[in-house]
C-alpha cells in the first residue's frame, strides 16, 4: 500500500512541477504582453522538446538498467554527419542513409553494452570512453559541416499536423513503444529487475546482460534519430552539434527530473517526458523574457537541483525499510567492483 502510494505520488509530483512551470510561464509571458498558449509558442516548445525527448527516452532505459550513457552527444553528431554524407542532397538516398546511420549507432550501443556487461566497466567510464573515441574520429575526419539533406528529408522537420510538429509525433510514438516495452514485455520487466538489483536478478535466473545491452542499443539508436532530426532541421551535418547541445548531461538531468532513480530500477518514461517538457517550458519563458543566455544556465542548474531535492526526500521517506538503498550512484556502482 505504502509502496503503491509512493509510485503514484512520484509521477504526480513530476506533473505537478510541470503544471507549476506552465502556469508560472503563462503568467510571466502574459506580463511581457505575449500569449503563452499561442500556436507559435506551443509549436516552439514542442520543437524544442523533440530532440532532447528522443535522447532522454533512450537515456531513461539505460538509467533504469543501472547504467549511464555519456556517449549520446557524439552519437548525435556522428549520425548527423554520416546521414548527411550519404544523402548528399539526393532524395533517393534517404532510405539508405537512415538505415546505415541507425545501424552504425546500434553498433556503438552494442559496444557500450558489451563493455558494461562483459568487461564489467561502469557505464560512466565505458560510455565516456566510447564517446571520446567517436569524438576523436569526428574531429579527425570532419572539418566543419558535412553533407546535405534533400528537401524531402527536410520536410520531416517542417511538416505540422495541426499545431503539432511531425518530429514531436514521432517522438511521442517512440515514447509509446518504450512504455509498452517496459510495461508489457519480458525485456522491460527484466530491465527493471536488473537495475533494481543485478545480483538478485541473476540469482533469480535472468540473463542480466541482455536487458542492459538492449537498453544501450536502443539508447544509441534513439540518439541517432535525434541526430537525423537535427540534420533535417539544419539541412547540413555538423560534427559538433551534439556536444554543443550538452545532450549527455541534460538528458540525464531530464531523466532524474522525471523521477527516475539514478541508481536504477525505479522510474518511467512518462516522468521523463514531463522532465523534458519542464526544461522546454523554462527555456521558452526565459526566451520570451529575454534573459541573458548565460544566466539561463544558472536558472537551469538551480531548477534541476531543487526539483530533484523535492522528489528525493519524498521517495526515500516512503520506501519500505527493507528496500532502502543508499542514495546516489552507490547502489548501482556496487556492481563496478
Amino acid at each position: 500500500m505504502k509502496a503503491r502510494l509512493s509510485t503514484v505520488t512520484s509521477t504526480t509530483i513530476v506533473y505537478g512541477v510541470l503544471l507549476v512551470a506552465v502556469v508560472a510561464g503563462a503568467i510571466l509571458t502574459a506580463v511581457n504582453g505575449r500569449n503563452f498558449f499561442s500556436v507559435g509558442n506551443i509549436d516552439n516548445i514542442l520543437t524544442t522538446t523533440s530532440i532532447l525527448g528522443f535522447i532522454a527516452i533512450g537515456q531513461t532505459l539505460v538509467v533504469l538498467g543501472g547504467s549511464l550513457d555519456l556517449s549520446v552527444p557524439f552519437v548525435v553528431s556522428l549520425s548527423s554527419v554520416v546521414g548527411g554524407g550519404i544523402m548528399a542532397g539526393q532524395s533517393g538516398n534517404i532510405g539508405l542513409a537512415v538505415v546505415v546511420t541507425l545501424a552504425l549507432a546500434m553498433v556503438v550501443g552494442l559496444a557500450n553494452g558489451l563493455i558494461v556487461t562483459f568487461l564489467r566497466v561502469h557505464g560512466f567510464i565505458a560510455t565516456l570512453g566510447t564517446g571520446l573515441v567517436i569524438s576523436g574520429y569526428l574531429a579527425s575526419n570532419y572539418k566543419g559541416s558535412h553533407g546535405s539533406a534533400p528537401l524531402d528529408f527536410r520536410l520531416l522537420d517542417a511538416t505540422r499536423i495541426g499545431p503539432v510538429p511531425m518530429s514531436t509525433l514521432i517522438m511521442l510514438g517512440c515514447a509509446g513503444v518504450a512504455v509498452l516495452m517496459l510495461r508489457r514485455t519480458r525485456l522491460g520487466h527484466h530491465l527493471y529487475a536488473v537495475g533494481g538489483n543485478a545480483e538478485v536478478a541473476r540469482l533469480s535466473g535472468l540473463r542480466t546482460s541482455v536487458p542492459l545491452i538492449a537498453a544501450h542499443v536502443i539508447c544509441s539508436a534513439l540518439a541517432a534519430v535525434a541526430g537525423l532530426l537535427l540534420l533535417a532541421r539544419l539541412s547540413v551535418g555538423n560534427p559538433t552539434i551534439g556536444s554543443q547541445g550538452g545532450y549527455d548531461l541534460m538528458s540525464i538531468a531530464a531523466v532524474v527530473l522525471g523521477g527516475t532513480l539514478l541508481a536504477g530500477g525505479k522510474g518511467n518514461i512518462t516522468g521523463t517526458l514531463a522532465g523534458v517538457a519542464i526544461f522546454a517550458v523554462i527555456d521558452n519563458v526565459m526566451g520570451v523574457m529575454q534573459v541573458n543566455p548565460f544566466l539561463r544556465d544558472v536558472v537551469r542548474g538551480v531548477v534541476i537541483v531543487v526539483a530533484v531535492a523535492v522528489y528525493a526526500r519524498r521517495e526515500l521517506d516512503t520506501r519500505p525499510p527493507r528496500f532502502e538503498r543508499p542514495t546516489g550512484l552507490d547502489a548501482a556502482l556496487q556492481e563496478a567492483r
Binding site: V121, I125, T130, L132, F294, A309, R337
Partner: protein
C-alpha cells in the same frame, strides 16, 4: 568449570599479529600488482618510452618543467579522489576552476597588496561551494551527480555572464608567478617550479589525511555506507568534508592555472572529466571504497605523459580523444579484474561449514563468534 576447559582457553596464546606481512620488497611487489600500484609502473614505462622517442625529454630541466605543468591536473585529481572514494562524483570541478580564475582576475587585478586577501577569498569561495555541494548531497539526498551538475551549470553560467564569455584582464604578475614561476638557479634541474612544490605539499598532506581516522572512515563510507551508518559515523559530515576538499583542490588548481593560461572563462573546461579519468586510471574504483590518493596523482601524470608521448610520436592531436577513450576503458576493465583477484573469496566462505559442534571447543581468536557468520548477506 573443569581445569581442562580453563587450559584450552588459555593455551592458544594469541600470537602477536605482525605489523606487516612479508618483507618490504614483497610488500612493494604485491602493491605493484594492484591497480593502484600498477599506475606507477605505467608512469615509469611511459617515461622511458618518451625519453626513447624524444631525447630532449632526458634533460632533467625539461622533465621538471613537465612535472610543473602537470601539477594542476594532479592536484585536481587528488581532490576528485576524496569525493570518488567516498562514493560520489564531483562534476563541478571545471566550473569551480573557471570561477576562481575569473575571481582572481577581477578581485586582485593589478594591485599586489590584494594578493593575500584574494587568495583567502578564493579559498573561502571554494570551501563554500564544497559545503553547498556536500550538504545538498547528504542532507537533501539529491544524487551528487545531479547536485554537482547543477553547480556546474550555475557557476559556468554565472562566470560567462560576468565576463561576457571573453578573456579579461590578467591579475598582477606576482600572483601569476605562483603558477609559472619557480626557485631559480637550482644546480641540476635549473628551476624548481612552484606548482611542483605545492603539489608535493598537497601530496604529503593528502597521505597524512588518508591515514588519519578521517581518511579511513571516508574509504569505509565509500565501501559500505550502510554499515558506516549503523556504526554511528556522521556520514553527512565526512562526505561534506570530501566535497570541500575537492573544491579546495580545484581552487588551488585554478590559482596555478592563472599563471599558465591567464583569465578566460574556458580555463578549466573539461577538468572534471580529466580528473575523473586520472583518478580511475590510478586504479581508484568508481563507487568508492578502494584506491590510494597518490595513485590518483600518478594517474594524472600517466595521462599527461601519454598525451606527450602521442605528440612526440607525431599522432595528430585530434586523435588524442580516441586514444584516451580506449585507454580508460582498457584500464578500468583490467583493474576490475585485478581488484576481484585481490579480494577474499566471497561465495565460497558462505558455503563453508558453519560453526559446528567441534569448532566451538577451540574458538579461533580471529574468527567472529557463533551466530555472526551467516555468509555475506
Amino acid at each position: 568449570m573443569s581445569t581442562t576447559s580453563i587450559t584450552t582457553t588459555e593455551t592458544p596464546a594469541r600470537p602477536a599479529l605482525p605489523v606487516h606481512e612479508g618483507s618490504l620488497g614483497s610488500r612493494i611487489a604485491s602493491g605493484m600488482a594492484t591497480p593502484g600500484g600498477a599506475v606507477f609502473v605505467l608512469v615509469g614505462v611511459l617515461l622511458v618510452a618518451i625519453m626513447v622517442s624524444n631525447p630532449n625529454f632526458t634533460d632533467p630541466g625539461a622533465l621538471i618543467r613537465f612535472a610543473g605543468r602537470t601539477a594542476p591536473i594532479a592536484i585536481a585529481a587528488m581532490g576528485q579522489y576524496y569525493v570518488i572514494v567516498s562514493g560520489e562524483f564531483d562534476l563541478s570541478m571545471g566550473a569551480v576552476i573557471a570561477a576562481q580564475v575569473v575571481l582572481a582576475g577581477n578581485f586582485i587585478g593589478q594591485d599586489e597588496g590584494r594578493i593575500i586577501p584574494g587568495l583567502l577569498l578564493m579559498l573561502a569561495v571554494g570551501a563554500l561551494i564544497g559545503i553547498v555541494n556536500g550538504l545538498v548531497t547528504t542532507l537533501l539526498k539529491v544524487p551528487s551527480f545531479i547536485v554537482t551538475l547543477g553547480m556546474m551549470l550555475a557557476l559556468s553560467g554565472l562566470v560567462r555572464y560576468i565576463t561576457g564569455g571573453a578573456a579579461s584582464g590578467n591579475p598582477v604578475d606576482a600572483f601569476r608567478d605562483i603558477g609559472r614561476g619557480g626557485i631559480e638557479d637550482v644546480p641540476v634541474v635549473d628551476i624548481i617550479p612552484f606548482p611542483l612544490i605545492i603539489l608535493a605539499v598537497v601530496a604529503v598532506l593528502s597521505v597524512w589525511l588518508m591515514r588519519r581516522p578521517f581518511g579511513r572512515t571516508l574509504i569505509a563510507a565509500g565501501d559500505n555506507p550502510q554499515s558506516m551508518h549503523y556504526s554511528g559515523a556522521p556520514l553527512w559530515s565526512y562526505k561534506t568534508r570530501a566535497f570541500v576538499l575537492s573544491s579546495l583542490s580545484a581552487t588551488v588548481a585554478g590559482i596555478l592555472l592563472v599563471g599558465y593560461a591567464g583569465v578566460h572563462p574556458s580555463v578549466g573546461a573539461g577538468y572534471e572529466f580529466t580528473a575523473i579519468t586520472a583518478v580511475v586510471l590510478g586504479g581508484v574504483v568508481l563507487g568508492g571504497g578502494r584506491g590510494w590518493v597518490l595513485s590518483a596523482a600518478a594517474g594524472a601524470f600517466a595521462l599527461e605523459l601519454l598525451f606527450t608521448l602521442l605528440t612526440s610520436l607525431g599522432v595528430t592531436s585530434t586523435w588524442r580523444d580516441t586514444v584516451q577513450g580506449l585507454i580508460i576503458i582498457a584500464a578500468v576493465a583490467l583493474s576490475a579484474r585485478a581488484w576481484q583477484v585481490g579480494r577474499r573469496p566471497r561465495r565460497t566462505t558462505s558455503s563453508d561449514p558453519s560453526p559446528s559442534t567441534d569448532n566451538t571447543a577451540t574458538p579461533s581468536p580471529n574468527q567472529p563468534s557463533t551466530g555472526a557468520t551467516t555468509g555475506d548477506n
